[in-house]
């Protein structure tokens, strides 16, 4: 419903036009109205379902920590990717992921993280000439 409100609010700033000459606000406004209507129906259904027994959101205890830390590492990667450069950022990301969810042995972490960053750089950066960031260290 919040999204419906946002859509309607933004659409109201755009020119609506007429049925003869619909303009850029025409379509988003119609969609916003439809979304409001559907959201109301969905909201009603959700209230009804709350009375019934629900299944927990997380599959097992502690799952939120695994998922949360993985998402945080991916976001961190996105922020640091261009700063640190491809090779270092990928090495750190893979290493972190190999330790955080189901910890692998350190030697395996080092080998897999190194191979992943180097091989993927060779495939995408060299073979396919994809411009990959070099970062502040120049590689």
């Amino acid at each position: 419903m919040a999204l419906a409100g946002l859509t309607l609010e933004e659409a109201s700033r755009l020119p609506f036009g007429t049925l003869r000459t619909p303009q850029s606000g025409f379509w988003p406004l119609i969609l916003g109205v439809v979304l409001s209507f559907l959201s109301l129906i969905h909201f009603g259904g959700t209230i009804k379902k709350r009375a019934e027994k629900g299944t927990p959101f997380w599959a097992e205890p502690g799952a939120w920590k695994k998922v949360g830390s993985v998402v945080a590492s991916l976001v961190g990667f996105a922020f640091l990717f261009e700063l640190l450069g491809y090779l270092i950022a990928v090495f750190l990301l893979i290493g972190f992921l190999l330790r955080i969810v189901k910890p692998s042995k350190w030697w395996l972490v080092f080998v897999v993280a190194s191979l992943s960053s180097v091989l993927s750089y060779l495939i995408f950066g060299s073979l396919l000439s994809t411009p990959l960031p070099k970062g502040i260290f120049g590689f």
Binding site: W27, A78, L93, K102, T130
Partner: protein
């Protein structure tokens, strides 16, 4: 005769060394993706899409098509050996396929899945050869009202065929339409919902959204549970890959029925291979003289669904190539690949790009043959790959998603978009919202809007234009029937009851 001559042209294109290599890469990657749980054909094609930008259109599309139908082959391997579907269309194969493996009949199960897929794939391709040009010719007379009605029908069908709540599926479709309006207005070019962001000037990219919802979200859901890290490949010697006479006798009609059923279901918008597999299983169980066998290692329960899901992949190409309308997420991605090369699929596509159309068809014959030859002898290799711990696989899947998105425009903002949709996709999966209606609506939205507005411009604001054109009226009526029937309890119960017999 025209079709045969054109097929000859197609083979002359598909048999070039470059196209053979990319066909091979596509089917191998597809099989790998199908074997490995956690990355379906949507995620794999999203990853390879940026690669196709550097290729010529023909090898690029041949490769992506190979990934799609290759994944159907590969998915049966994990279903039979691990009881975990490698991709969604092989869910049903777990039921009887794994039971067969536990009875020491993994070989015949894998064998009939491969042979059934080959036969169905061939039938599907033959159907595509005749249907696509026929439909393309009819669609030459389509105008804005017809295109609006067709996209409306497509979206209502996708929600009709969704397994969860219909309201939720409709909500996702409408949200997808709204997301599709981000960026430049398709008619006037005015900016909408972009908030000054250069990245959003061209709208939300399909690839970051698809990789988020189907790649990142899938892996996040997998890593929630410890079981995925401890999966065990059922230890059995895989011998006797060639089904015996009895197996062929039992599987013959399921393969034939599955092929035709799958092909026609694949033409409809929605997750064709998945629906086809479920429908085939339910049909075979209903028609069987011994329905009690199902769930206890009935070979028909493998042969039918695996044939259906393969035939559906061929059917799915028809609306895209003949009408320019993708019926599912994979086709939306392939449409993206075509449009990057400046090729607009649709009624004039087959006439304008005969080498591309017939080359892809011929490559599908070749690809299906490669898959049959690859899958059976290489079962041992796929089993070894299955044994790679998921704890090592999932970081690599994330890596491919991240690189894949970055390589499109070297824009870090698109990585953030992918991650946002990854988290949203994860929440959607947990709360029963399906991603397919959202993504399809994202892709079809601009077509739907521009058709709607053009139709109103032509008719000077008269909404009756959608009804005065007979084809448009027919399609709109069908769409409204689909929309309304979802909410009539007796219709809903009959439909869900038929599919739920699979459980």
């Amino acid at each position: 005769m025209d079709a045969l001559a054109n097929l000859g042209l197609g083979f002359s294109v598909a048999l070039s060394p470059e196209n053979l290599i990319f066909c091979f890469i596509g089917v191998v990657v597809g099989t790998l993706v199908g074997v490995l749980p956690g990355l379906g054909p949507v995620g794999a094609i999203s990853l390879l899409l940026p690669l196709t930008f550097k290729l010529q259109p023909i090898p690029g599309i041949i490769m992506l098509a190979g990934v799609f139908y290759g994944a159907m082959y590969g998915g049966s391997t994990t279903s039979i050996l691990v009881n975990i579907p490698g991709e969604a269309a092989s869910i049903v194969t777990c039921i009887d396929g794994y039971k067969m493996a536990r009875q020491g009949r993994a070989g015949p199960a894998l064998g009939i899945a491969a042979f059934g897929s080959f036969i169905a794939g061939t039938i599907g391709i033959i159907g595509m050869m005749f249907f696509a040009p026929f439909l393309g010719k009819q669609a030459l007379s389509f105008g804005a009202p017809e295109y609006f009605s067709l996209t409306f029908l497509g979206l209502t069908l996708v929600t009709y065929l969704s397994r969860g709540s219909k309201i939720d599926a409709l909500l996702m479709a409408v949200l997808g339409l709204i997301a599709g309006s981000i960026g430049a207005d398709p008619v006037s070019g005015e900016q909408r919902f972009s908030y000054g962001s250069f990245t959003l000037f061209d709208g939300l990219g399909m690839v970051p959204v698809a990789m988020g919802i189907f790649g990142i979200a899938e892996v996040l859901q997998n890593i929630e549970t410890s079981a995925v890290f401890d999966r065990e490949v059922f230890k059995t010697s895989i011998k006797g890959l060639f089904p015996n006479l009895r197996d062929w006798k039992d599987s013959f009609w399921p393969i034939v029925r599955g092929s035709f059923m799958g092909f026609f279901i694949g033409i409809l918008p929605g997750p064709g291979p998945i629906i086809a597999a479920f429908t085939s299983y339910a049909t075979e169980k209903k028609l069987s003289r011994h329905p009690g066998k199902f769930g206890n290692g009935a070979i028909e329960g493998v042969a039918g669904p695996e044939s259906a899901n393969n035939a559906a992949t061929a059917g799915a190409f028809i609306p895209l190539l003949a009408l320019g309308l993708p019926g599912n997420v994979v086709m939306a991605l392939i449409m993206g690949a075509l449009m990057i090369h400046g090729i607009q699929p649709g009624p004039v596509f087959i006439g304008k790009y005969p080498e591309l159309f017939w080359g892809v068809i011929a490559s599908m014959y070749i690809g299906n043959t490669m898959l049959l030859l690859l899958n059976l002898p290489l079962i041992g290799l796929w089993v070894k790959i299955l044994k790679i711990p998921y704890a090592i696989l999932f970081p690599l899947i994330f890596l491919f998603c991240l690189i894949g998105v970055y390589t499109i425009n070297s824009n870090v903002v698109e990585i953030f978009i992918m991650l946002i949709f990854g988290v949203l996709g994860f929440v959607m999966r947990k709360t029963g919202f399906e991603g397919a209606p959202f993504l399809l609506a994202l892709v079809l939205g601009p077509i739907m809007e521009s058709s709607f507005r053009q139709a109103l411009l032509i008719s000077h604001g008269n909404l009756g234009i959608f009804l005065f054109h007979p084809v448009s009226a027919f399609l709109l009526t069908l769409g409204f029937i689909c929309l309304i029937s979802q909410f009539i309890p007796s219709f809903r119960e009959k439909k869900e009851g038929f599919l739920d017999k699979v459980a």
